[in-house]
């Protein structure tokens, strides 16, 4: 008790943490958005824009097929999130607690670690008309030349959405798995099956609402991400027109500098599109919940659910096979000499791609590890301190605070990073690495908070009461009870944070200015060359780093608590 009574360093940090966190999240966005909004309305003195005008919005809306691009972006966000969530929901409902579930869960979790661009490239090679699947079929179907089929880059973006689902489904599944221990799954399922409900219906009616409440914001992040995605859209998405963020980036990169105004106006539109997709999702939430309630009211039990269960399993399994298969093929490409259609394997293997690439990768690797580890560590400290302060004061972050936390995920990166770069330059500092860690922190922090806050809040507070009753301080409670019991959630949050840092492209390019490069910036620069062999090398390394982080997150608790039966997964 004495410890709790004295204000110590750690306690004052805890008290300051919420304010500090808000500053880290809000200031960069506020400044970045200002530097985006002002040019959108005509103000950018460096390019001679000194008057406020709506002319740039007029020219934006006069762009050919701009509304189709915007609508496609919006649709991509909603469809990607909807399909991913549906698969996760049915899979968890139909299979949680089975041995198949445990096996597939371990197979799917590493998918999260695979960078979007690498997964998209792998998928493109699998399903293209000259790709691996057609090559497999070629001898049987008598195909000598690749057929002229429009699969990749289809005008409706279906292939792109499939690629996004393959990457976002594992993310939602992981977040769901982190939330699952907080509901009484086994007991509830026994209860509902005693009432004659099938697995899926029973789960949906009783447990899913509790689970969804915990993962809701992760779903919003998926929607926001998918509406503003660039790399996957470039590789798999429609061409004429491309989705909005891709066209935005083209304007930002156009040598005609006056297009920056148009790009800024487009960034404002992008903001609207993302918000529109989120609002649309809120409507869908309402509708889905009413439908669910109606079905429950009619006593639907869905005893014959075999087909649905198998479909959910197949969808999850296919995702894992497609993404891993794509990555494995890229890895094969990295050792390939000539490999033409319709050969299933390369003519010969060579180490030359690796020999050329490896010496150049050490420095970016060090920066990737350093920035990822530091930004994740800071994010974890801030998050735990915030949640601890919340637990002490009993004031849970309100809607506004939650919005602040989600802002970096919901405001499209492309809309405010240009402004961040100006901020960094204007500060005149040369601490580039520190700036890089800080910018990564802006994106890592929300994900860490998102991953950790729900399990943290769902923690059974009676443990706190017992510890307090035994005369232990808040700090001892945190260190001896909460952190150990939540170690899986903490490590998962850390792994998510690290993966987010590794995957950052735009902020790293702008703040690192090429002097600090990461594996990802190198990979995307090389991806511009479209060379499958080199992409194979980088995709492998880019995948390996977060994969290791997730491996640690899933293995460490099992090792640490191997003598605590109740804490085993």
């Amino acid at each position: 008790m004495a410890l709790a009574a004295r204000p110590t360093g750690s306690l004052s940090f805890v008290r300051l943490a919420p304010g500090l966190t808000l500053a880290v999240l809000l200031l960069p966005i506020a400044f970045g958005l200002a530097a985006t909004f002002l040019p959108a309305f005509g103000y950018l003195p460096a390019l001679g824009g000194t008057e406020l005008t709506l002319a740039h919005f007029e020219s934006l809306f006069a762009m050919p097929a701009i509304w189709r691009s915007a609508a496609l972006s919006l649709l991509t966000g909603v469809v990607t999130a909807g399909v991913s969530l549906l698969i996760v929901m049915l899979f968890v409902a139909g299979w949680a607690g089975t041995r198949t579930f445990a096996r597939l869960q371990h197979a799917v979790s590493p998918l999260l670690a695979i960078p979007h661009a690498a997964a998209a490239f792998g998928l493109a090679f699998l399903i293209a008309p000259s790709g691996f699947l057609v090559r497999l079929a070629a001898p049987w179907a008598g195909i000598e030349r690749p057929p002229d089929w429009l699969i990749v880059n289809d005008p409706l973006g279906l292939t792109m959405m499939a690629g996004l689902v393959a990457k976002e489904m594992p993310f939602l599944l992981l977040v769901t798995l982190a939330a699952l221990p907080q509901v009484k799954r086994a007991e509830t399922m026994q209860l509902v099956s005693a009432f004659g409900y099938g697995r899926i219906a029973g789960f949906l009616f009783t447990l899913w609402p509790q689970v969804y409440r915990q993962i809701r914001f992760a779903v919003y992040a998926v929607i926001a991400y998918a509406t503003a995605v660039v790399d996957v859209a470039v590789i798999l998405g429609p061409n004429l027109p491309a989705i909005l963020p891709v066209r935005l980036l083209q304007w930002m990169n156009d040598p005609d500098l006056s297009l920056r105004f148009l790009a800024s106006a487009g960034a404002v539109l992008q903001l609207g599109v993302t918000l529109g997709a989120l609002l649309g999702w809120l409507v869908i939430e309402q509708v889905a919940s009413s439908i669910c309630a109606a079905l429950r009211g009619r006593g639907l039990r869905m005893v014959r659910e075999r087909m649905l269960r198998i479909a959910a399993l197949a969808a999850t399994g296919t995702t894992a096979v497609l993404v891993f298969g794509g990555i494995a093929l890229l890895a094969l490409w990295s050792f390939a000499a000539l490999w033409q259609f319709p050969a299933i394997l390369p003519d010969a293997f060579t180490l030359s791609t690796w020999q050329r690439a490896l010496p150049r990768i050490l420095e970016p690797l060090a920066v990737t590890l350093g920035a990822g580890a530091l930004s994740t560590a800071i994010a974890l400290c801030l998050t735990i301190a915030c949640l601890e302060q919340e637990a002490r004061t009993g004031r849970v972050a309100g809607r506004r605070a939650m919005l602040a936390i989600y802002l970096p995920l919901i405001v499209p990166q492309i809309a405010f990073v240009f402004g961040l770069q100006v901020l960094f330059l204007a500060s005149g500092t040369d601490q580039r690495f520190a700036a890089l860690v800080f910018v990564h922190l802006v994106f890592v922090l929300p994900y860490v908070f998102l991953s950790l806050s729900d399990p943290w809040r769902a923690f059974d507070r009676r443990y706190d009461l017992i510890a307090a009753g035994l005369g232990r301080s808040r700090l001892a409670l945190l260190l001896k009870v909460r952190l150990p019991m939540l170690s899986r959630a903490v490590l998962t949050a850390a792994a998510v944070g690290f993966a987010v840092s590794v995957g950052q492209y735009l902020p790293t390019v702008l703040i690192g200015e090429g002097r600090l490069t990461t594996v990802t910036t190198e990979a995307v620069a090389l991806a511009a060359g479209g060379n499958r062999r080199v992409i194979g090398v980088y995709a492998f390394l880019q995948t390996l780093l977060p994969f290791l982080a997730f491996a640690i997150a899933s293995l460490a608790p099992a090792l640490l608590w191997r003598n605590r039966r109740a804490m085993r997964p």
Binding site: L44, P45, A46, L47, P64, A65, S69, P129, S130, P146, D148, L150, V152, N153, D154, P155, V234, N239, L240, P241, Q250, M252, N253, D254, P255, D256, L257, R260, A337, L338, W339, Q340, F341, A348, T350, R356, A366, L369, A373, V422, L425, A426, D430, R432, F433, E513, G514, R515, T517, E522, V524, A525, L526, A527, A528, G529, G530, N531, R533, V534
Partner: protein
């Protein structure tokens, strides 16, 4: 933590070097002074990083400038030159008029025009004062002095040549049937539907293809050497879009999707999706054969009436931090031995900007002895050069292309 300490220290050291820059610009006419100032500097060279052999060549350049002049070269790999232009612009926006992050930039055409018009380049012109300028082939390569009809005025130094060349796989296509003009290409596409395409503008190669066609079908090619005349623009480009309207239905994916860029087309040639592709470097196909990316049956051809040609350059931004070092690197890039290695397809295969008759006997012999590779046409087989249109044409054609084809239908 140790790693972070190292990284922070490294960052600090970079900052320390930056603050040591002097205010007055180096004068290439006083070359010894430039060399003295350059020693110990670090030059951040912003250059497209999408090609492994070019990256490897630049690594060699860095080793040599370090060894010979004590200048460290860092290749900042960018995926689009416009990003580097944007960076310089962002620095000016924030008032960073000295100690900028870009020292040297690989550039030409509209990016150069944009930087020149915005006064983002180091003044006054310096390229003509470089010691190695005396080897440069200004007489026979007019594109060294006018970049997309824009006078260069010494604001950028030439690095390599480029010419539009077509590639095909002789195992699949008969050399007899190859087209010899844009019109012939269209006829070929009609006879072989789904096997020809071009990267969608604003990709550099895709826009170049449009300019090649326009140069051939416009009623008066002299118009292209002047800025666009808005009064006659519609009529001037009508033949180009008639051509494309006829091409798209018989193009790859019926013109509903386009390759991303040249390397993507190269991959599609190897995959058998495309039968004729094109690039701006005559040695590309040989380099790809050597790298195992294309079969050794690939060959090149051009049009007998000529194809588009230009020069690519390096430029120094007005706020560069290591101007002396950048000058030393620019000068080294046009040194005979550096140009020789660059033209060697074993390393890169990029055509030289030097005049062989201006070189010493030994260097000339070395150039003559270069094995250009089976798929590379000799310089005298490349056919005439069609000048690049004025930069304003590219903007307007791209705009018109978007207006017509980004329809969402």
């Amino acid at each position: 933590m140790r790693l972070a300490t190292i990284a922070l220290t490294a960052t600090f050291l970079v900052g320390f070097c930056m603050s040591g820059a002097s205010a007055a610009d180096p004068d290439p006419a006083e070359w010894q002074a430039v060399l003295d100032e350059a020693e110990g500097q670090t030059v951040y060279f912003n250059a497209w990083g999408g090609s492994e052999n070019i990256n490897a060549y630049l690594e060699w350049v860095g080793e040599e400038t370090q060894r010979r002049f004590g200048v460290e070269l860092v290749h900042v790999k960018i995926d689009d030159t416009a990003n580097a232009v944007a960076r310089v612009l962002a620095e000016r926006t924030s008032g960073k008029d000295e100690g900028g992050s870009v020292d040297l930039i690989w550039i030409n055409g509209e990016n150069f025009v944009a930087m020149k018009e915005e006064d983002l380049l180091m003044q006054p012109g310096w390229a003509g004062d470089l010691p190695n300028w005396r080897y440069v082939d200004v007489e026979n390569q007019p594109t060294i002095l006018t970049d997309f009809t824009e006078p260069v005025e010494g604001l950028e130094s030439p690095w390599g040549g480029a010419k539009l060349v077509f590639f095909y796989d002789s195992a699949r296509l008969d050399a007899e049937q190859l087209p010899d003009s844009a019109g012939g290409l269209l006829e070929w596409a009609k006879a072989n539907p789904g096997r020809l395409s071009y990267p969608a503008p604003p990709d550099f190669i895709g826009s170049s293809f449009l300019k090649q066609v326009l140069s051939e079908v416009i009623d008066d090619p002299a118009k292209l050497q002047e800025p666009v005349n808005e009064q006659t623009f519609e009529a001037d480009v009508a033949p180009l879009f008639d051509y494309l309207d006829a091409l798209h239905p018989v193009a790859w994916r019926s013109g509903k999707a386009f390759p991303q860029n040249y390397p993507d087309m190269k991959q599609k040639l190897a995959d058998g999706e495309l039968d004729i592709v094109f690039a701006f470097n005559p040695a590309e196909a040989s380099a790809a054969i050597a790298a195992g990316e294309l079969p050794d049956t690939v060959r090149s051809f051009t049009f007998s009436e000529g194809t588009l040609g230009n020069t690519h350059f390096v430029a120094i931004p007005y706020n560069a931090n290591a101007k002396a070092g950048a000058l030393v690197v620019a000068n080294f890039l046009i040194a005979p031995d550096a140009q020789l290695r660059k033209q060697d397809p074993a390393y890169w295969g990029d055509p030289t900007v030097l005049a062989l008759q201006k070189l010493g006997e030994e260097d000339r012999a070395a150039f003559d002895a270069l094995e250009l590779g089976v798929a590379t046409l000799a310089p005298d087989e490349l056919g005439p050069v069609i000048d690049e249109p004025h930069a304003s044409w590219m903007d307007r054609i791209e705009e018109e292309w978007r207006r017509r084809y980004i329809t969402g239908n």
